[in-house]
Symmetry: C2
Subunit: 456 residues, 2 copies
C-alpha cells in the first residue's frame, strides 16, 4: 500500500512537473524570441513616425488601417476589414487662450487645446470672467447667479497619492467628460478644464467630452497643468480678470472606417475564438505611441510570435485593431454586434490599452472560476514580473463583449508614467522603452498561449 | 472555556489588526507625503543640473559633497563628513577611434570613449589590425601568434533574453573589467570593448576596468553598440583593416574626499544603527541621474519623510552618501572600517543603486531569520508594487559591512531601462520619472520604518 501510494504520488508529481515544465519552456521560448528578435518596436516606430496621429475619420486613421492589414498579412492566416461608421471631429487651426487684462501681467498667453468633440468658438472666440471650481457640487452651490455669462474653470487636480494613476485619473476626469454640460446648466459660456496630468507640464492634454442631450453645447478647452496653476494664482491675485479663447474645431458627418481583424485558425476548436487587441485610432495631437499604438503592435506580435516559435493554436486567435476608442467606441460596439449576429463563440478577450510600460500583471472581469484558473498560472508568469492578478478590469473596446458573457482581460503595465504623455503631443515613440514594450507583447502571448492550451 | 477562548482569539485578532492597521496607516502617510509633497525629484534636479558629473577627485565630486552636507543639514540631527582618499582618474580631451583604411568606406569614425582607470595612448595613439573575439576562451585559443601587436575587440553582446538586465550585464561585463589584462597576456597593444547596453545606440558606455597586477596596462576604449556592429561587419567584409585610437586619460595621485553621513538619533536604542544610502560619485560623461543621484536623494528623503510625518525613530537612522563606488569603492570600505573601529552596532544597511525606476521589491543578503522577518512585511508593501523579496542582493557600498554580520538589503527597481543610460551621456534628469523616483523613496522609507519599529 505504501509503495503503491508512493508510485501514485510519483506519477502525479512527474505528470505535473512535465506539464509545468513544458509550459515553462514554451513561455521561455516566447520571451526569448521577443526579446532577441521581436518586431513590436519596429512596427510601432513605423506606425508612429510614418503614419503618426490617427483620429477617427482622418487620413492618418485610413493609413493606419492599410498599414495594419498589410503588416498582419505577413503572419496571419487571413485578414479582413470590418466596416464601421465613425465620428469625424476635426480640430482646425491652433487654439488660443489668454488672460486679456491682467493689471500686473498684461496679456497672459496660456497653453490650451480644444477638448475632443467640443464645438468650436469660431473666429469670434469666447470672452468672459472666470469662475474657478473644484467640483460639480461647488458649481451647483454657486448656481446660475454666479455662473451665468462666465467661463467655468474646473481645476481639481488628479490625486497624486493614488498608487495607480488610473485611479487618480478616474477621480478627476468627470471634469473633462461632463464638465461642459454641467457648466451649461447654469448658463456658462465656455469651459476650461485642468489637464489630466500629474506633473507640472507646459502642454495641454486633450481627450473626449460628452455633451448631455438637450443641454447647450459649450466650447471647452484643456489648459496645461502649469497654466492651470498660474491662472488660479492670477484669479487669487486680481479681481475682474477676463479670459479669451478661440477654437476652430467642428464635427463633420460620420465617416466610413474599419476595424482590422486577423486570424490564426485553431487546429482543434476553430470556432472558439480568443480575441487580443488594442485600438488603432489615437488623438490628433501626437503619434499615439503609448495610446494605443503599443497595444496594437503587442497584439499583432502575439500572432507573429506563435508563428515564429511554431506554436499552432488549438483555438482561433483573432487580433483586432479597433477603430474609434477615443471618441465613440464605434469599433468595439460594432465588433461585439457582429459577433452576436454571427453567433460567434468567444472564450476570452484581452486588450492592451494602458500603455507599453513594464508589465505588472493582468486585470479581469470574469466569473470566479475563470479568475481562479488564470490566477493558477501565476507561478508560470511571475518570473517575468507578472504578479498582480487581483484587480477588476479589461478594456474599453472589448467591454461590449461582456454582455455576451465573454471573460474580459486587461493587460496591466506599470501606470506611473502613463499620464505624463496621455492625449498630448508628448506621446511619441521616444517615450517607449523597447524592452518594456517587448515584455508586454511576450506577456500577452504567454497568457493567450495558456488560454488557448487549457481553455477557460 | 469556550467563551474564554473566544475572548483570547478576539484579543489576538484585534491586537493583530491594530498593529497591522497602524503600520498600514504609517506607510500610507509616508507614501502620501512623498507623492504629494516629495522633494526627491527637486533635489535630484539640483544635483544633476547644477552640479552634474562628479567622478571621484573632480570638482563636481567636491561640490556634491558640499551639496549633500547642506541639504541634509535641513532635516538631520547631525551631519558629518568622513574623510577618505580616492583614486583620481581624468579623461582628458575627447577620444578618437577610427578605421583608417577601409577600401569600401575610407576612414570610418567610431563613437568611442576611454574606459575608466585606463591608461591613455597619448597623442601618438595606438594603431593596429583588429582581432574580434566573443570570449576569453576564444582569445586564449587564438593565442599570442594571432594577437601579438594587434588590437583585441571584445564583442560579446549582453544577452537580451535575460528578464533582469543586471543578469545580462553580469554575463558581459568581464570583457570591460578584465578584458584589457586578458588581451595583454597575449601581447595585444590595445583593447576595444562593445558597450554594455542592450539597444542599438550611438553613444558609448564607460565604466571601470581592473588591471591585473604585473601585466602590461593596455589602453582600452568602449565603442557604441551600433559601431560595434558596424566594426564587426567591416571586419567580415574586408581583410587588413587598421584601427586607430587615441585617448588622453590618466590617473593622478589619490585625492582627499568624503562620505557624507547624516543621522536621526534613535529615541530608544540610539546605538543601534540602520544605514540607508547610495553613492554620490558618478562617471564623468553625464549627470549620474539614475547612477546614483537617484539613490542619494531617495536615501536623504527617508530622513526628511520621517521628519515630515513626525515619526521619531527608536533606532538611529543614518544616511550615507558614499564616495567612489564607480572606480574604487573607497568610501564603502572606509565606512565599514570606521564602523568596526568604533565597534558600532549596525542592525541593517539598505542601498539604492539600481536606478530611480518603478519599485519591484528588495533584495537581501542576510540570515534566513532576517529574510523571513522582512518577507513577513510583504502584505504591507505589496499594495505599493513591492512584491519581489526573493533574490539575494544588496549594494556595492554596503557590501563591506557584510563581514561584520550586518544584514544587507538592496532596493530593487524595475531593471528594463537601466542599461539604456548606464555610464553614458544619456544618464540625465529627463530620463527619471518623478513618480517612479518618489515611489522608490517611499518604499525605502517604509522598509526602514518597519526595521526601526520591529528590529531585525
Amino acid at each position: 500500500m505504501r509503495l503503491f501510494l508512493s508510485f501514485l504520488l510519483m506519477i502525479g508529481t512527474s505528470g505535473h512537473v512535465f506539464s509545468q515544465s513544458s509550459d515553462e519552456s514554451s513561455i521561455r521560448q516566447i520571451y526569448n524570441e521577443e526579446l532577441a528578435r521581436g518586431k513590436s518596436y519596429q512596427m510601432l516606430e513605423y506606425l508612429t513616425t510614418h503614419i503618426g496621429a490617427r483620429l477617427s475619420g482622418s487620413p492618418g486613421a485610413a493609413a493606419a488601417v492599410e498599414w495594419g492589414r498589410h503588416e498582419l498579412d505577413n503572419f496571419a492566416d487571413s485578414v479582413f476589414l470590418q466596416p464601421v461608421m465613425v465620428p469625424h471631429w476635426v480640430r482646425g487651426q491652433k487654439e488660443v487662450g489668454r488672460v486679456i487684462n491682467s493689471k500686473k501681467r498684461g496679456v497672459v498667453e496660456m497653453n490650451v487645446c480644444a477638448l475632443g468633440m467640443s464645438v468650436g468658438t469660431g473666429p469670434a472666440g469666447v470672452t468672459g470672467s472666470i469662475v474657478e471650481v473644484k467640483s460639480f457640487d461647488e458649481l451647483k452651490q454657486l448656481g446660475e447667479k454666479n455662473v451665468k455669462g462666465k467661463i467655468v474653470f474646473f481645476n481639481r487636480p488628479m490625486d497624486p497619492t493614488k498608487f495607480n494613476t488610473f485611479e487618480a485619473y478616474g477621480g478627476a476626469v468627470e471634469q473633462r467628460a461632463l464638465g461642459p454640460s454641467e457648466a451649461a446648466k447654469y448658463g456658462a459660456v465656455g469651459v476650461i478644464v485642468r489637464s489630466m496630468g500629474l506633473n507640472q507640464e507646459d502642454y495641454p492634454h486633450t481627450g473626449g467630452l460628452r455633451y448631455t442631450p438637450n443641454i447647450a453645447k459649450l466650447p471647452a478647452i484643456a489648459i496645461s497643468t502649469k497654466h492651470a496653476d498660474l491662472l488660479s494664482k492670477i484669479l487669487k491675485d486680481e479681481k475682474d480678470i477676463q479670459f479669451y479663447f478661440e477654437t476652430h474645431c467642428e464635427t463633420l458627418p460620420d465617416a466610413p472606417s474599419f476595424n482590422v481583424v486577423a486570424e490564426l485558425v485553431g487546429s482543434e476548436f476553430p470556432n472558439e475564438i480568443i480575441v487580443v487587441g488594442g485600438h488603432l485610432d489615437s488623438w490628433d495631437l501626437a503619434q499615439g505611441a503609448h495610446d494605443d499604438g503599443a497595444g496594437c503592435v503587442q497584439s499583432m506580435e502575439v500572432l507573429r510570435l506563435f508563428k515564429m516559435i511554431g506554436y499552432k493554436p488549438k483555438r482561433t486567435i483573432r487580433v483586432v485593431l479597433f477603430m474609434n476608442e477615443e471618441n465613440g467606441l464605434r469599433g468595439g460596439l460594432e465588433y461585439a454586434r457582429q459577433a452576436e449576429l454571427k453567433k460567434e463563440k468567444h472564450i476570452a478577450a484581452l486588450e492592451s490599452d494602458d500603455g507599453g510600460f513594464t508589465p505588472r500583471g493582468f486585470t479581469m472581469t470574469a466569473s470566479e472560476a475563470v479568475r481562479s484558473k488564470i490566477k493558477g498560472w501565476k507561478p508560470l508568469l511571475e518570473p517575468y514580473g507578472l504578479y498582480d492578478f487581483s484587480h477588476e478590469g479589461g478594456g474599453a473596446d472589448i467591454g461590449p463583449l461582456q454582455a455576451q458573457g465573454v471573460p474580459i482581460i486587461g493587460f496591466l503595465p506599470d501606470s506611473q508614467r502613463y499620464f505624463d504623455y496621455h492625449h498630448t503631443q508628448e506621446d511619441t515613440i521616444d517615450k517607449v522603452s523597447k524592452r518594456e514594450l517587448e515584455l508586454g507583447a511576450a506577456s500577452m502571448a504567454s497568457l493567450i498561449y495558456l488560454i488557448d492550451k487549457y481553455g477557460l
